[in-house]
Every structure is written in structure tokens, then in C-alpha cells.
């Protein structure tokens, strides 16, 4: 039993494991379901997942660690993804990322001291007609500047 997880979270995870146990190729949807609810895929549940899906713990770890989207540790309350791909670079994303890192006081894959926001790089958000683009939680924003992103953060994360 992982003490960092609440009873409710354990129940949620169990329900997801049961729901995906017999789904063909069910590991990916299961990991998504757990991360959607808990915010990450706790390492402590790898053995349960492995047992239910007839996999080894190493295989579960292998899948979680292969994909950029999955994480095995909790992160900030909100997630800001800054696009680093070519289209955004052509519209000054290198400057945007440098300014945002300075303003937030964090590098990529780090969380602000108040635990509010995690900064992540992303390679294309499909908003290349309005570069540079960022994604704050589940919403994409186009033609961004550091000031605009800072205003967004205040509105969404502190509003």
C-alpha cells in the first residue's frame, strides 16, 4: 500500500485496472485513465497492473518510461507545455522559452516553488498556423509572447 495515495485514489485505480484487464492492448488506455485521475502513474501500483494484465513489472515500467506523456511522480497543479518545434521556432519560440524559464524561475521538467505549475517542452501542438503556441492544461493558445503567457497563468492558475 502506497501511503501517499488516498483510499479514494486506490479505489479509482482498482476500478481502472478491472475495466481494462481484458481490453486488447489495454495497458495504454489504463495508464491514461490512471494518470487522468491521479495526475501520474504511481510506481507502487506497477505490480498490481502487471499482475492484472499478465505482464512483468519491468514491462509496465518500460511502457510508462518510454512515453513522454506518462510520468511516475506527481507534478504541479497545472502544466504549461511550450512548443519547441520548427514552426514555432520560426516565430521566435526560442526567445519565448528563455523568457518564460526566467519569469517562472524553472527549467523544463521542473515545477514552480509553490507547486502550482510544471513547465514541459512539447514538439508540436498542431497550431502551427499561429506560432508560437503553448498549451496550458488542456487548452492551446496561439501567437504567444512571454507577457501573454504570464497573463494566462495568472488567470487560469491563480484566478
Amino acid at each position: 500500500m502506497d501511503n501517499t495515495l488516498s483510499h479514494e485514489q486506490h479505489v479509482q485505480i482498482q476500478a481502472h485496472i478491472q475495466a481494462h484487464q481484458h481490453v486488447p492492448g489495454g495497458l495504454m488506455p489504463l495508464l491514461h485513465a490512471i494518470q487522468d485521475d491521479i495526475g501520474y502513474v504511481p510506481e507502487s501500483v506497477y505490480p498490481e497492473i502487471a499482475k492484472a494484465l499478465a505482464l512483468s513489472v519491468a514491462e509496465v515500467h518500460g511502457v510508462v518510461s518510454f512515453y513522454h506523456h506518462f510520468r511516475s511522480h506527481p507534478i504541479g497543479k497545472h502544466v504549461l507545455q511550450v512548443c519547441r518545434a520548427e514552426s514555432c521556432q520560426s516565430m521566435g519560440s526560442a526567445k519565448l522559452e528563455a523568457e518564460l524559464k526566467a519569469k517562472l524561475g524553472v527549467d523544463y521538467h521542473q515545477t514552480t516553488a509553490d507547486g502550482n505549475l510544471t513547465l514541459l517542452p512539447v514538439y508540436c501542438l498542431g497550431n502551427c498556423g499561429c506560432s508560437p503556441a503553448v498549451m496550458l492544461d488542456d487548452e492551446v493558445y496561439g501567437r504567444m509572447s512571454a507577457d501573454k503567457v504570464t497573463a494566462l497563468i495568472s488567470e487560469v492558475c491563480h484566478g
Partner: protein, 521 residues
């Protein structure tokens, strides 16, 4: 009641369309103006988003870009009577949408309904020729459906440009109790968004295309492998699939035909390499997205070892119009061996970005200047990258190349998924070459050595070149390394990373500290 359209496409939303829509509803209520608000897809004129349209007797009239702060003024001008003189005098008035130069010259076949209909209205879809292709397909044999797709000349729009009909034929002739149709919706190439637009703005056309594919080859289960960066597409697809099931367009006994086709969306998890079809299949099976050796081809041993069609979103979304209007109708568009149309995506440093669907054969110059209006920065366009992060960089001297798979191959470039990213003259091409290696290192699945190790060594060699260390030797090393990756990698990720690298080096040697002469040597 007058209909007012505000797009629900991600790009429109990224520019504030949701707030604009809310403000229009509030203002209409406050003023007692009766309107019906329709959330349509995007017409693909991104510099004018949020583009608001009003239905009139003459057709839809456009206003844009409309910010919430513009809404009160639009009501003051009586914009809901869009053809009245007062509305026409408003600075955001653009005229009849269909008459806008950007749209008027396009040949929209795959994107025929995009921006026009409400994406989640099946009634709207049916009223705009939706499910006509399926209706025809249900009266045909599987072999005849496959023949129509082959005769249309459709080639894989994901980038590889493999003839779709030939792939289908292999699956058709592979005996198996279970076959699959997999849609590759892991659109990870920078500069591309046409898959996303189809899924968000006309999801039923993809569902229809996949259903036809299933019926053609005898596959009863389909999966859409959707990148996790597209949460709006996920919601829209799931809702459209639910509606199609309810209306008997998916599931058992489709439209009373006895055919079965089940469809499910599966979320990817942010690995670029899973856009490669065998890596995608591994991922769908719940594994790490490691690239498989070929053969066996997925068409023979694909998902869970069964015969599987793996096609890009645009390829599958083009199938309905081919079955509706006939193979010849589609094949009549295009040039050479590139038949039909290509939804081109203009991106990066351009004044006017967005979706342009044209028959193959238009030149880059037309797209960059006639459609794109030149660089957004007002500076000269120095380089364009076509076909995503694994595509070559082209200099101005190649802007007259027609958009045609073979014409691009001839100049050692790729058309890929039709994304065009423009850079102005402030771009440092050595930096872009370094980035290509860096991206490959981040995204490599690690299975083959040239890609796994070569990408990291490439970053290091580029750093030395930029610093001017042992310059001639390191440039030679860069070429050798690129040669190894090009010829020794298992898939296109490692195998095509040399395209952006070497094209940057060959066309822009001065950025690598070389004269033209040195570069040629």
C-alpha cells in the same frame, strides 16, 4: 432566426473564439436580437480567426478577426443583417465567405465540408453529401471498392505516398478471421494540422472512410490512434462515434447491410516515433513504441499479428468522396503520378497561414506569396521546410518546384504530409541542423544504433562545427554520419534526419562557416 457561425476548431479557440462566442450570445440576449449560434469548423484562414459568419440570402458573410471587444460594435452596425450597408461599412466586414480569394481558388475535395458544417451534426453531414460514399460502397463488392481506391490514384497522405489501393488489396487478399483498420492520427510533424482539422471539423468523414475501408477488406474493428496533444479532437471523435453508432452507421448491421464495423479511439502518449506505422502498432498493443522489422508488412501481419490497413487521417477521409464521385473524378485532379488534391498547411513565418487544398502541381512560390502573403515579419523568406521535421530545407532558388511527390524526390526533398514552414532571413540554418539531430535524439525509439547513437553524435558534431573546431574534418564527419543514418536506420526517423541536416548544409553553407566552394567539396 439568423444563423451566426463561430468556429470551434482548436486554432480558432487558441485565438479566443470561445470568448467571442460567449460575448455574441450575451450581447444578443441583452439586445433582444434572436440568433442561432452554430459552432462550425474553421474555414482555414487563420490570420482572420476568430472568423465569424452570418447567414444571408446571398450566402454566408464573414467578419474577422472578431475579438470579444469587437462584438458590441458589430451589433451596433447591425451585423446580423450582414448585407445591410451599415454592416458592410464595419471595418471587420470581409464580404461573402465563398468569394474570399483564399477560398475561391481552392479545390476542396477532402475538406469540402470543413468550416461549413457543424462538426457534430450528423444531419448537417448528411445534408452536405455525407455518407454518399458508404451508400455506394455497400452496393459494391470488396474488390470493386479496392479497385476504385486504386484507380483514383490516392497515395498515402501521411508522408510515405504509398498507393492506398495496393495496401488495401494486400489486406483484402490476406485470409484471416480478424482484420483491422487503423487510422494513424499521430500527427506529430511540425507545420501540419490537416489531420487535426478533419477530426475536429468534419469527424464523420473520417468515420465514413474507415467504415468503407473495413467493409472493403473485411475488417470489423477499427482504431484511431490519436496523439495526446489533441484533447479537442478526442472529445469530438468520441462524440461523433457515439452518434454514428446510434444512427446505425457504426456497429452491427450497418444501415441494414449485414456488415459490422466497430470503431474506437486510442490515445497515444507523446512519442513522435509512434507515427511510424509499426511503432504505432506496438503502441496499440500496449507496448513500448519500438519500430518493427519489415517484412512482415502490417498488411499481412499487423495489429495483434493480423492483416491490418494502416492509413493516415487524410487518406481515409478522402475515401468517401472517391466512392461518392467515382475514381476518375478524383484522378482528374493532379499531375504526373500525384493524383487528386493535397490539403496544404501553411505555417511558421507567413502573413497568412492556414489550410489550402489544391490539386497537385501548384508551386511553392504560389503558396508562399499568393496565399501566404510573404513572411509575417515583413522580411524576405530565406528557407522553407516542407514535410515536417524530417523534410528538407529549400532555398529561394527551389521555390518554383511544383507540389508533386516525384518533383520533390528529384531535388532530394519530400512533400510528406503537406506542411510548409517558412523562415525569414534571421534564421540560423546551422541551429536548425543541430535541432534536427536534437529532436531525433529526444524521439528515437532506441532500437537501431544509427538513430539512437547517431542523433546524439550529430548534436556534438554540430556544436563543434558552430565553434569552428577542426572545421573541415568535422564537416566531413557530419556527412559520414548522415550517410550512416540515411542508409543504416530502421525507419524514417533516423533515416530521414539527414534530410534537414544535409539540405541546410548544402543550400546554406555560409551558416556553417563555409564558402560555397568548400561546401561543394
Amino acid at each position: 432566426m439568423v444563423k451566426v457561425y463561430v468556429p470551434i476548431d482548436s486554432t480558432a479557440l487558441s485565438l479566443g473564439a470561445e470568448r467571442t462566442a460567449k460575448k455574441i450570445m450575451q450581447e444578443a440576449q441583452a439586445r433582444g436580437v434572436e440568433i442561432t449560434l452554430v459552432r462550425n469548423g474553421s474555414r482555414g484562414l487563420f490570420w482572420l480567426e476568430p472568423l465569424v459568419e452570418v447567414e444571408t440570402a446571398q450566402g454566408r458573410v464573414a467578419f474577422g478577426p472578431v475579438q470579444p471587444s469587437d462584438v458590441a460594435g458589430l451589433f451596433d452596425a447591425g451585423f446580423t443583417q450582414a448585407q445591410a450597408d451599415k454592416a458592410k461599412a464595419h471595418p471587420l466586414y470581409l464580404g461573402l465567405t465563398d468569394e474570399l480569394a483564399w477560398l475561391k481558388k481552392q479545390q476542396r475535395l477532402t475538406f469540402a465540408r470543413v468550416g461549413i458544417t457543424d462538426p457534430l451534426s450528423l444531419e448537417d453531414y448528411l445534408a452536405h453529401d455525407g455518407y454518399q460514399g458508404l451508400k455506394n460502397a455497400l452496393a459494391m463488392s470488396g474488390a470493386d471498392i479496392v479497385k476504385a481506391v486504386t484507380d483514383s490514384g490516392l497515395r498515402g497522405r501521411g508522408g510515405a505516398a504509398f498507393p492506398t489501393g495496393i495496401k488495401w488489396n494486400t489486406v483484402l487478399n490476406a485470409p484471416a478471421e480478424q482484420k483491422y483498420v487503423v487510422c494513424n492520427a499521430d500527427e506529430g510533424d511540425s507545420g501540419t494540422y490537416s489531420d487535426r482539422m478533419i477530426m475536429e471539423d468534419d469527424p464523420f468523414v473520417l468515420i465514413e472512410g474507415m467504415t468503407i475501408a473495413g467493409i472493403a477488406v473485411g475488417a470489423t474493428q477499427g482504431y484511431i490512434y490519436l496523439r495526446s496533444e489533441y484533447p479537442h479532437a478526442l472529445k469530438t471523435l468520441n462524440e461523433a462515434i457515439r452518434k454514428a453508432n446510434l444512427a446505425g452507421y457504426l456497429g452491427e448491421n450497418i444501415q441494414g447491410s449485414g456488415h459490422t464495423f466497430h470503431l474506437e479511439v486510442r490515445r497515444a502518449a507523446g512519442a513522435y516515433v509512434c507515427g511510424e506505422e509499426t511503432s504505432l502498432l506496438e503502441s496499440l498493443e500496449g507496448k513500448r513504441g519500438l519500430v518493427r522489422f519489415k517484412p512482415p508488412l502490417p498488411a499481412i501481419e499487423g495489429l495483434f499479428g493480423k492483416p491490418t490497413i494502416v492509413n493516415n487521417v487524410i487518406s481515409l477521409a478522402t475515401v468517401p468522396i472517391i466512392l461518392d464521385k467515382g475514381a476518375q473524378y478524383y484522378a482528374d485532379y493532379g499531375m504526373g503520378r500525384s493524383r487528386g488534391t493535397l490539403p496544404i498547411q501553411l505555417a511558421g513565418n507567413l502573413k497568412q497561414t492556414g489550410l489550402v487544398e489544391l490539386a497537385f502541381g501548384a508551386t511553392l512560390r504560389e503558396l508562399l506569396y499568393d496565399y501566404g502573403g510573404g513572411a509575417a515579419s515583413g522580411r524576405p523568406i530565406r528557407a522553407v521546410q516542407v514535410g515536417g521535421p524530417l523534410g528538407a530545407y529549400l532555398p529561394e532558388s527551389q521555390f518554383d518546384t511544383p507540389l508533386d511527390y516525384e518533383a520533390f524526390t528529384k531535388i532530394w526533398a519530400v512533400l510528406g504530409h503537406g506542411g510548409i514552414v517558412a523562415f525569414d532571413d534571421t534564421v540560423d540554418m546551422a541551429k536548425m541542423a543541430r535541432y534536427a539531430f536534437e529532436f531525433c535524439a529526444v524521439e528515437s525509439c532506441g532500437k537501431c544504433t544509427p538513430c539512437r547513437i547517431g542523433s546524439t553524435r550529430g548534436v556534438e558534431v554540430m556544436d563543434k562545427i558552430v565553434l569552428g573546431k577542426n572545421h573541415p574534418q568535422n564537416v566531413q564527419l557530419l556527412r559520414d554520419l548522415s550517410d550512416t543514418m540515411l542508409n543504416g536506420s530502421l525507419c524514417a526517423l533516423g533515416g530521414m534526419t539527414p534530410y534537414p541536416v544535409l539540405s541546410a548544409l548544402n543550400h546554406f553553407p555560409e551558416d556553417f562557416g563555409l564558402s560555397n566552394k568548400e561546401a561543394a567539396a
